[in-house]
Each structure stands twice: as C-alpha cells, then as structure tokens.
C-alpha cells in the first residue's frame, strides 16, 4: 500500500511538471465550459425560468410597487429601464395606475415586445402578467371582503394579504419529459466529465506507454512489489490528477460562473470520484493494451469525444433521440452526467443518484479488472 501511494504521488508530480498538462487540465476545458454554456444558455432555472422584463413605471402610487412585487412572485425578473441588461419584453405602467385602480376605473398596462426576443419568451411573459393581474384582483377581493373597502388604500394591508399562504396552490411540472439543463449548469458537468475522461485516459495511457518504451515498467516489475501495487499506484496517481481538475472546476464553476452545485455537494463529489476511478482504469487499460504513445493519444481522444457526444456532454440528452438516450446509458459518461444533472440542475439528493452510482461502481470494477489483466511490461 505504501508503494502504491509513493507511485501515485510520483505520477502526479510528473503530470504536473508538464506545462501542456495545465493547458489541457484547466485552460481548454474552461474555454469549452464557457462556450458550451453560452451556446446552451437558458433563461435561468430550467425548471422555472425567470424571463427578464424591462419595466417603465410612470406611477408614483404604492399599487404599482405592489404590482411589481407580484410580477416578481409570479416568476419574472424585473429590470430597471436604466439597466442595460438584456430584457425579453417591456411593461409600461401609466402615471395614474394607482389612482384609477382605487377609483374603480379600468387601467391599461402596456406590454411591449422587445426586438429580437422569441415568440416563446413573449408568450411566457404574457402568461406571467395575466397571472399577476389575476393575483392582484384576488388580493383586492380578499381585502374588501375581510377588511372593508377602506383597506384598499392601505399598502400594509395589501402586503399582509400578499404574504399569506395561498389557500389553494397548483404545482405544475413538465409532463412526459424532464426539464432541460441549460447554461453553465449544463456545460460545467458535461465538459468536466468529457475532459476527466480525456485527460486521465490520455495522460495515463501515454505515460504507461512511455514507461514501457524506455524500460521503466520493466524496472517496476523487477522491484520487490506486486503487480497489484503498481496498478493501484497508477490508478491513485490518475485519480489525484482528476481530483485537481475537479477541485478547479467546482471552484471556478461555483464562484466564477455562478453554477449552483446543488444541495448535496458530497453526492456530487462521490459521483465525480467514482467516474474518475473509471477514467483512470480506462487510462491504465489503454496504456496496457496499446504500445505506441501516439496511438494511445489518438484512440483516447477519439473515444472520449465520441463517448462525450453520445452521452450528452455537448447537448442536453433530454432533447436527443430515444436511441441516443439508450446508447448513452450503455456508457459510464451517460450515467455520470445523469447523476450530475440530477444533483446540480435539479437539486436532487442521494436517493436520485444511488442507481447511477451503483452502475458507475460496476463500470469501475470491470475496467479495473481489465486494466490489471491488460497491463504488460
């Protein structure tokens, strides 16, 4: 065991001595996370998008403020007109909004489409506005019914009613399909899984092939140690390398890109750890079976890209054909992404990822057994 740790620490030091390692461990994957996240960006929480709406409020009465709070409660991000942030629609509240409502007169709130926004966004905002108007009317009826008409002019009374728990609540969910991960919440796990696989197989396999070429593997075999210790050391070194990449991505993702890592960070880490084990074992297997370093790199890069594409690292599997979904779940990348999206994008806990973790552990055991059998000095 001591020798395995020595080999692992030694290998990590060797990997990190290579300048090119930093490019492939950090820079290139980070660029991919950014571009893929940008290309797959969504309106926010994929389960409950909050489209930004630019609001022009000409009214200085309290009811317009109450109305905006209701819009916010219904799921719209209210954007100040002075803010240059992109908005998908606009709403203009007239100057006499409060006075006309309190005077029992109809009032028109203008709904403005923004150039460049899609029809889907506009429809979603219109729906939210309608819901906000209905909610305002409900609050109004409740106020008059319970406190009399005099309460209508009391902002505190309005807010008290708004703050009450709804007597009836409708919970709506996507029917027939899962919500679609989007933005950096989608790209970070996908690209991390792809580059973990690529880097650990390429670095692990090429390093083993080089060690075989220059006789270092034979020197290992001539030491008073068992072959299992050598494989364990190689796996440990690669898993340490994977750990470095995971730590970097989770920190940059959380604090640089604002990706919510879900309520269950330990489950995220365990999932990544098991996947790292698989990738490390595949690296040792590649290095054991393929003699030339160039071939190891070519095979591992190609296999990693294919597995990543098929498994939903590049685009959400939720929008992929059924055959691709089946294929994805024949691969460890598919199961790893499944678990990570559950945890990161949809806030699931341990229960939701037990099955993917079980399958991934099975993959890890099989690939490790193959790596032990395939290692030739």
């Amino acid at each position: 065991m001591k020798r395995a740790l020595t080999i692992g620490h030694h290998d990590l030091r060797l990997f990190l001595k290579s300048k090119i390692a930093f490019v492939w461990l950090f820079l290139v994957p980070l660029a991919f996370v950014y571009f893929m996240g940008f290309a797959n960006r969504g309106p926010g929480d994929p389960a409950n998008p909050r489209p930004p709406v630019r609001v022009e409020n000409l009214d200085d009465g309290f009811l317009s403020r109450v109305f905006f709070d209701e819009l916010d409660a219904q799921g719209m991000a209210v954007v100040d007109p002075t803010n240059r942030a992109p908005a998908t629609a606009g709403i203009r509240v007239p100057a006499d909004f409060t006075a006309r409502v309190l005077g029992h007169q109809p009032v028109k709130v203008e709904f403005l489409e923004q150039a460049g926004s899609g029809a889907g966004d506009a429809a979603l905002i219109e729906l939210r506005v309608v819901r906000a108007v209905i909610a305002m009317n409900s609050h109004l009826i409740e106020l008059v019914t319970h406190q009399g008409e005099g309460a209508l002019t009391n902002e505190t009374a309005w807010r008290e009613v708004m703050g009450r728990e709804e007597p009836v609540r409708l919970e709506a969910r996507f029917a027939g399909r899962k919500p679609v991960p989007a933005g950096f919440s989608f790209s970070l796990p996908g690209i991390l899984v792809m580059y973990l696989l690529m880097n650990l197989t390429v670095f692990g396999g090429a390093a083993l092939a080089a060690e075989r070429r220059n006789g270092v593997l034979r020197r290992f075999a001539m030491q008073a140690m068992r072959s299992g210790e050598l494989v364990a050391g190689k796996l440990y070194g690669l898993m340490l390398l994977g750990g470095v990449q995971i730590a970097f991505f989770l920190l940059v993702g959380r604090f640089g890109l604002g990706v919510p890592l879900g309520a269950n960070l330990p489950a995220v880490l365990v999932t990544l750890l098991v996947f790292t084990w698989i990738a490390a074992a595949l690296g040792v297997l590649a290095g054991g079976l393929i003699r030339s370093e160039d071939r190891v790199v070519a095979v591992c890069v190609l296999a990693s890209l294919l597995m990543a594409a098929v498994s939903g690292c590049w685009w959400p599997l939720e929008v992929a054909p059924a055959a691709l979904k089946i294929l994805a779940h024949a691969l460890p990348t598919g199961w790893a992404l499944d678990a990570l999206h559950q945890l990161i994008s949809f806030g699931a806990g341990w229960a939701a990822v037990l099955k993917p973790l079980g399958v991934l552990t099975g993959f890890a055991a099989v690939t490790t057994a193959l790596a032990v059998r395939g290692l030739r000095v």
């Binding site: 030694h10 060797l14 006789g215 270092v216 034979r218 020197r219 290992f220 001539m222 008073a224 140690m225």
Partner: protein
C-alpha cells in the same frame, strides 16, 4: 555458497530457442561476465533471473532458495540495471534515486541519505538537482546504475551498462563496478565488449545462440586453445587447402582463416621454435608469421567459428 545459481535454464520464443540449458553460479564478491554477441541470449537469461520472464525449464536459485519459491525475497536481494535508460528524464538524478529508493522499501529519510551517498559515489552530486534530460549519455548511465543500488543489493545484475557511451565514461562506470565487487557484491555482468570481460570479470561465461559454450577465468579460457600462444600466418592464402597439408591437422588447430590470414594453435606443448619451423615449411607462400597470446576473441572464434565483433 553461491549467491546466484542458474541451473539448466531454457526459454523459447516460438521456434527460437533463446536460452538453451544455461547453468552457472555467481559467488559473493565475484564479478561474473556473460559474454556474447547481440542476440546470444544474455538479456533473456538476465530477464529470467530478474523475474521478468518465466523459464520453460530450469531453475534460478538466489541465496540458497529457488526464485519461484519466494520472488519478493529474491528481488529484495537483487539490484537490476537494465540495458535501456529506465529513468525519468524530466526528473533530477536525486528525484530518480529517491523514488526508486522509496519503492525499494526505504523510508523517505533513508532514501534521501542513500541518494546523497550514491550521488557522491557516482560523481553526480554537482548536478543532482538538474533534470536528467540535460545530462550526457555517461551521466544518464550512472543514474541508471544508481537507481538499482539504493537498497544495497547483495546481488547486482548489470545488462550491458556501458552501451553507447564514450571511453572515459565507460572507464568511470567500470571502476565503480569494481568498487562494488571489492565491497562484496556478487555481480552478473553481461557484455559484448571483449575488453570489458577481459579486464573486469573474474570468471567469464561465453554465450552464443542461447548456449553457454564455455566458462572459466580468462586464463582457463585461453588454455582451451591448447596453450597460451597462437601463430598468425599472413600471405596469399586464397587457394590454400590447409586440411590437405601433410601433418598440419595432427599438430595444429585452425582457429581462423581468411584469404590473407591463418590463425592456428599448436595441439601440444612443443617448443614454439619447432612449431615455427613446421609452419614455414608448409606448402604455401607465407610472408609473415607472428606469435601472440590468445584473446577472448580467439576463444570465441574457436568456439563459434566467427568473431564476436561480426
């Protein structure tokens, strides 16, 4: 008791019999040379002893116990220097030595101390912290050698440790190896350099086509050529047929023959002057006759019919 005993070792790769019934022993403090041309079976023999290959037949006994009975024990006794530079070129000499020391079972502190000793002994201390890739060929060879010595092995297997380096670097390594032998290390040294075997090894085994053709001290091997002198005849020998010369076959053994040269050894211990007279009376025009002590190459010639350098 011998520290290494190899008994009737055999190994084939398909139809090729790489090692064929090889037996020899190496004693503590002895430097045993395994001499042979490329492809003779030296590295295969050494690989079997080191546990890299399994023999088809025969046995390796290390310090009185068969290797197969406890490979880990045998490997702890051995240090192996492979022919290739099996070191990490990105790392410094110190880092290489310390790493292999840790794998040999030393603590971090002991590995550091031992690495210091070896760096000094191998004249590498000045550049110990520089990456090995910046070293000369000779320095890399010394690092390669040092990596096998961290755990102070009692038996050292050296597989052509001076291949591809300049004469001065070779002399440095040979002197270091002699020092190890003087300290009591049993050394099995494979080489295809005659001079190394002649000057370094106490006993020499000559290997060709996987078979150990002869073994002994240099003097014993020379004595195989019926004495300690050879006669070299020079002249136009292109049409000569020595086997038809009267009395030649009875008195002389032909070692080598070319169109210009004939090397022979006397079959008995007669006076050299008598031998010279007989040779000058042969039915062939001889321009020059010289007398020389037999070399290992002559022994190899006599055993195999070809020069080791071919």
């Amino acid at each position: 008791m011998s520290l290494l005993r190899v008994e009737r070792l055999s190994k084939s790769f398909g139809a090729l019999r790489a090692v064929d019934g090889v037996s020899f022993e190496v004693h503590p403090g002895e430097l045993y040379g395994l001499l042979g041309p490329n492809g003779a079976g030296k590295t295969t023999t050494l690989s079997i002893i080191a546990g890299l290959l399994r023999p088809d037949a025969g046995e390796v006994v290390v310090d009185g116990r068969p290797f197969s009975a406890d490979p880990q024990r045998a490997k702890r006794i051995m240090g192996v220097v492979p022919q290739e530079l099996a070191i990490y070129e990105e790392l410094s000499a110190r880092e290489n030595l310390e790493f292999w020391g840790r794998l040999a079972g030393l603590t971090a502190r002991d590995a550091r101390t031992r690495a210091d000793e070896l760096l000094a002994a191998l004249s590498l201390a000045d550049r110990a912290r520089e990456p090995v890739k910046t070293y000369s060929g000779g320095m890399k060879r010394r690092v390669n050698l040092g990596c096998a010595l961290l755990h102070r092995p009692r038996l050292l297997l050296l597989d052509e440790p001076t291949v591809g380096i300049d004469p001065q670097a070779r002399l440095n390594i040979l002197e270091f190896v002699r020092g190890l032998q003087r300290e009591g290390t049993a050394i099995l040294y494979t080489t295809h350099y005659l001079e190394e075997a002649e000057t370094l090894c106490q006993r020499i085994g000559i290997l060709d086509h996987g078979r150990l053709l002869a073994e002994g001290t240099l003097a014993e091997l020379q004595h195989r050529l019926s004495g300690d002198r050879l006669f070299v005849l020079e002249g136009d020998l292109s049409g000569a047929a020595p086997e038809t010369w009267p009395g030649f076959g009875e008195h002389f053994q032909m070692i080598q023959r070319t169109d210009r040269q004939l090397v022979v050894a006397a079959r008995d211990r007669r006076d050299p002057a008598d031998c010279l007279r007989e040779l000058l009376n042969l039915p062939v025009r001889v321009e020059n006759v010289t007398l020389k002590r037999p070399s290992l190459n002559d022994v190899f010639l006599q055993l195999t019919g070809r020069e080791l350098r071919e």
